[in-house]
Symmetry: none
DNA sequence: GTGGTCTAGACCACC
DNA sequence: GTGGTCTAGACCACA
């Protein structure tokens, strides 16, 4: 479900938070839905439970989830502009992608073509 | 010339190495060309010379540059498949991009459309 | 356990890496075994922790060890041809030895005899 | 004639000095014999003339050669115990060899056997 | 506690 | 001037 790269310099809790954030913003995780328990998620991803705690705390600080003692962690996005957030995150992703591809000497059309080909599984 | 984000979790020496790598692989820095001296680059980027040393050492381990005492650091890509490296790096970038966008609930066509729109500056 | 010659032109971190490499390749340090912590080894050898970091980093680049944050550095030689590495290292040592002895005017038999005598402690 | 490893941490002038020392001690270079001129040796080995100067100066400090202005550098080993020096240098070489091989888990007999095999070109 | 990064500043070898 | 090594000491992330 989630993909963790232990060797990445990006902290594990950060990688996880960003992935969950995308799932929430995409609507994949609906409002009010319960997230996996800390122990369960830690066990599944083979990471330290403390790391999951940190992830959930961060998401809570960002106002994406809220914890209810004894019950668990729940998606909590009342009144949030989901579509706006999604577009904003996608714009960030895209800019980073274009910037790095530009560093490889590629320009607009080439990037689009390269992406299209890759999506078709041609290379 | 190079852009360092001090707040990124990616180490400074790694950010720098990846940017120089792209410049080399893109052909922007030709074989045999001299890179900026350690002290000069450190001064320009306002980072410690040791950090630049670490960057150059990493590039040397990757076989992209070679250092000559008293002379400097030079691009050294004899017998390297530049085009292959470029394609490989682009494929990595693209896969990461697609994976993250997929987390936002987007599929192939939507991603291409979103990228195209962004490149046209429509949003 | 390890012996560092501060006056040698060979960098301290390199001396240490080569000695640990031999211990690993010889099987003295088994796969998965934990190496001494950076601070501990630095303290024992009376060198700066950063120097040990450099040693461990080099061994990691060579694929002999792998580090896990908060846990330590571990021997990691999955799928490595240990015996081949050992033979290769021994061949290097031997060639260097023979080359230098040849510079002293000694030939095959004399070298073997000299070595044998020295091993017996006769001189 | 002489073999220089530019990537070695051992300074070039030191590598060269040790090789010439061995040639002198072995009798290969007899007393009074003229060494190659600085420019000639530098040109042959493709190193900086200053480096050869440093080598010759070091050998002079060790009392193995003496320079005569306008004439050149000459082997000068009057009254030296050549055989003793040779044995001493060989003992050093051998001890270093045995120590490193021991680090690979090899003991006396194995080392002798390995050396013999290598000399016969069997591996 | 662990490893990892970064800074500051020193000294060395080579050109 | 160049790169290379080492020390000292600080701060961070992870377990």
């Amino acid at each position: 479900m989630y993909h963790i790269d232990q060797r990445s310099p990006v902290p594990v809790y950060e990688q996880l938070a960003r992935q969950i954030e995308r799932h929430i913003v995409s609507g994949d995780l609906a409002d009010g839905q319960k997230l996996p328990s800390i122990r369960e998620l830690a066990s599944t991803l083979r990471i330290n439970p403390n790391t999951v705690v940190k992830t959930y705390r961060q998401l809570e600080n960002e106002g994406l989830v809220s914890s209810r003692k004894g019950l668990g962690i729940f998606v909590s996005i009342l009144g949030m502009d989901l579509e706006g957030s999604r577009d904003s995150l996608f714009a960030e992703l895209t800019d980073e992608y274009v910037r790095k591809a530009a560093g490889l000497g590629m320009e607009g059309d080439q990037i689009v073509q390269g992406l299209t080909r890759r999506l078709k599984g041609e290379n």
